[in-house]
């Protein structure tokens, strides 16, 4: 079984490095300054470039390095992944777009049409990261009032409708959340390969829904025993699940260099922010509450957040995003990723800031050292790419 390595893309821009992760200097989500890129300042004036130009550069780097594609995240404070995928489709060759979206925000027939058109623009390079919602104020920012466990029922219906119209219909559906009559994708849009589905969610309701709909059950990185238990719970609801993890990676030739990046970035972290993080309740997001539970109860410095070897729980204090990441030498990070493969992981969504330069660290430093599953370990084949 082949293992897919995806590389995330920074949909609200990127910092210049993890050392300066408090400032997004790439993309136009932060005010332009002298150190800005896309837009840069030429003669004091913005040069006309924007985040999309930086995303093109990042996606081209990722595909040129052999990554399977990338996750295009979606939050209140990001550009929209459907629109970005449409633009990137014409600028890239093999990069696959794992579009993050919440079913409640979009009519399922429209989602099917957008997907089919994107498939046609990109020769079938669309995948889904279906998020059912962290809840709390962000959910209401989108205008979504449906309660947590009901949202999973809605996601199930959404995918039932989407699959129902995918091959052309006519399809009728009358559910709690959606109703269609005589629906179906038209002509050339109908019957394309259905996108690979990555399903997120850590609660019992999410795990139950994933069993019905997901090709891949996607989790954030957590301590390995916790992930093993979570995967076992998914296995209880699904005949043959595939597992995916979303992992931030900070890898350098030596462990000292890698932790040196953390040390320098940590200088910008305020102790009160650490205390607030440790007491954060995470709204009604089960995943965030889990992550908080894995953090240390007290701290004296950033190394206290290395909760097991190379598993660092302090990233959310340094930049927006998940708490956990792997930090270490190329060899150490490769060993931990092999450990995740041993847990059953078949797809990785790796990430690091800035996504452009870090893609090279991971592809050139870490991936060649991966060994795969014990029974299937073989020397790397020589794949000749056109010169």
């Amino acid at each position: 079984m082949s293992i897919d390595i995806w590389w995330r893309i920074g949909m609200a821009g990127d910092p210049g490095s993890l050392r300066t992760a408090h400032r997004q200097s790439r993309g136009d989500w932060a005010p332009a300054g002298p150190d800005s890129i896309t837009p840069g300042l030429r003669g004091g004036e913005p040069d006309g470039y924007g985040l999309l130009d930086y995303l093109v550069e990042t996606a081209k780097a990722a595909e040129g390095l052999g990554f399977h594609g990338g996750l295009l995240p979606s939050f209140a404070g990001t550009d929209d992944p459907w629109a970005v995928a449409a633009a990137l489709a014409r600028e890239t060759k093999t990069y696959k777009f794992m579009i993050a979206f919440q079913p409640g925000f979009l009519n399922p027939v429209q989602a099917a049409r957008m997907t089919a058109s994107l498939h046609r623009a990109s020769a079938g390079r669309v995948a889904y990261n279906i998020i059912t919602g962290g809840g709390g104020p962000p959910q209401l920012w989108w205008g979504d009032k449906v309660a947590h466990d009901d949202r999973y029922a809605r996601t199930s219906e959404f995918l039932d409708v989407l699959r129902g119209v995918w091959d052309g219909g006519p399809f009728d559906f009358d559910g709690r959340f959606y109703r269609v009559e005589g629906a179906g994708l038209p002509g050339p849009l109908a019957g394309l390969p259905f996108p690979e589905v990555f399903f997120s969610g850590s609660s019992p309701a999410a795990i139950a829904a994933a069993g019905r709909h997901a090709d891949n059950y996607l989790s954030w990185l957590e301590p390995f025993d916790a992930l093993r238990a979570k995967f076992d719970a998914v296995r209880a609801h699904s005949a043959a699940p595939r597992f995916a993890v979303r992992v931030d990676v900070l890898a350098r030739p030596t462990a000292e260099e890698a932790w040196g990046e953390i040390e320098r970035g940590w200088r910008h972290v305020r102790p009160e922010a650490v205390r607030a993080q440790l007491s954060r309740d995470g709204g009604d997001s089960f995943g965030v509450r889990r992550a908080v539970g894995f953090q240390p109860e007290s701290f004296t410095g950033y190394r206290d957040f290395e909760v097991e070897p190379n598993v660092f729980a302090g990233l959310a204090l340094m930049r927006p995003g998940p708490a956990f990441g792997l930090v270490g030498s190329y060899e150490q990070v490769a060993e931990r990723l092999d450990g995740l493969i041993d847990l059953g992981v078949e797809s990785f969504i790796l990430a690091g800031g800035p996504h452009l330069e870090e893609a090279y660290h991971v592809a050139e430093g870490v991936l060649p050292l991966l060994r795969g599953r014990p029974g299937e370990r073989a020397p790397a084949e020589s794949v000749t790419l056109s010169a």
């Binding site: 130009d53 020397p379 790397a380 790419l385 056109s386 010169a387």
Partner: protein, 300 residues
């Protein structure tokens, strides 16, 4: 002025330990899906474009593709990179021996049309003579400066004029000159280099900019330069946030602030353009853009 101008050097024979942009890209281990396999062809130019786009998006002034007989062809690389940018000055390095001056000008007029006037020539005069002979070029010694002078004279004449007749030691043209859309374009900015008497004489006649290597006797060389010609400096650069991180090659080496201060000190001596390089070219271009360029902005 907007500050010192940084022109970033494009690798012609690979970059970094995997020779990106030259050698075939390494395959992933066999049990990983290689996203590239089965898709449209990737080419080594994809990576060269990554570098030049980093320079463009990072607000650097230009990219320079050196002449390298054992590497990628510089005018072709220039043609590709220039079209993929809006602001960059694109500098092609080549010697006079590669073509007649009329043909070099003709090819360059098309590049100039493609780029909207951002092409520059960096004419290499004192190449290793064994390298020259392997390229079919047997002009040696000071004659190379005489030929370069004729080359530039003829190229400029046919670029700007009609019915150009020229008879020299190396070239002869009858009723030359460009017409139609090829006429009236800006002639490429001419960069020359060298510290011999012949080199300074050639620059006085033909150069817009004269490129010096980083050397302790720079002031003595600057004094010999024709006042019409702008000086530029060429150096490898090695810069990090902290001094403790600084290992590696000599050249323009120091913290971000130290390198910026040195560049500004050269700018105070009249040097406005810096041909810089560091490996890996992509990451280091972004490092310079993000951390050094802001310290130069609005100065000089």
């Amino acid at each position: 002025m907007s500050g010192p101008r940084i022109i970033w050097t494009i690798p012609t024979r690979g970059d970094g330990k995997t020779a990106r942009g030259w050698a075939p890209a390494p395959a992933l281990p066999g049990f990983l899906t290689d996203g590239r396999v089965g898709g449209p062809a990737f080419t080594p130019f994809d990576y060269l474009h990554q570098i030049s786009r980093a320079a463009e998006l990072g607000g650097l002034a230009g990219v320079y593709t050196p002449y390298d007989p054992h590497g990628e062809e510089s005018l072709v690389v220039t043609g590709s990179l220039g079209r993929d940018s809006r602001y960059l000055e694109v500098v092609a390095g080549f010697p006079a021996g590669i073509a007649t001056p009329v043909y070099a000008a003709k090819l360059s007029a098309t590049l100039q049309r493609a780029f909207g006037g951002r092409l520059s020539w960096r004419l290499e005069v004192d190449l290793d003579e064994r390298v020259q002979r392997a390229q079919g070029d047997f002009v040696t010694g000071p004659d190379r400066y005489a030929r370069a002078a004729e080359f530039l004279t003829v190229a400029k004449a046919v670029w700007h004029g009609r019915d150009v007749d020229f008879t020299g030691r190396f070239y002869e043209v009858v009723r030359g000159g460009f017409e139609g859309p090829l006429a009236g374009l800006p002639f490429p900015t001419v960069y020359l280099s060298g510290t011999s008497d012949e080199a300074f004489a050639l620059s006085a006649e033909h150069a817009d900019v004269h490129v010096f290597d980083l050397a302790p006797d720079l002031d003595a060389h600057l004094a010999r330069l024709d006042p019409r010609v702008r000086p530029a400096l060429q150096a490898s650069v090695h810069t990090r946030e902290d001094e403790v991180e600084l290992r590696g090659p000599a050249g323009l080496r120091g913290t971000y602030q130290q390198v910026a201060d040195r560049i500004l000190a050269y700018a105070d001596r009249g040097v406005d353009t810096f041909f810089l390089s560091a490996e890996p070219r992509l990451e280091e271009a972004l490092r310079i853009a993000q951390h050094v360029r802001p310290l130069l902005a609005g100065r000089a």
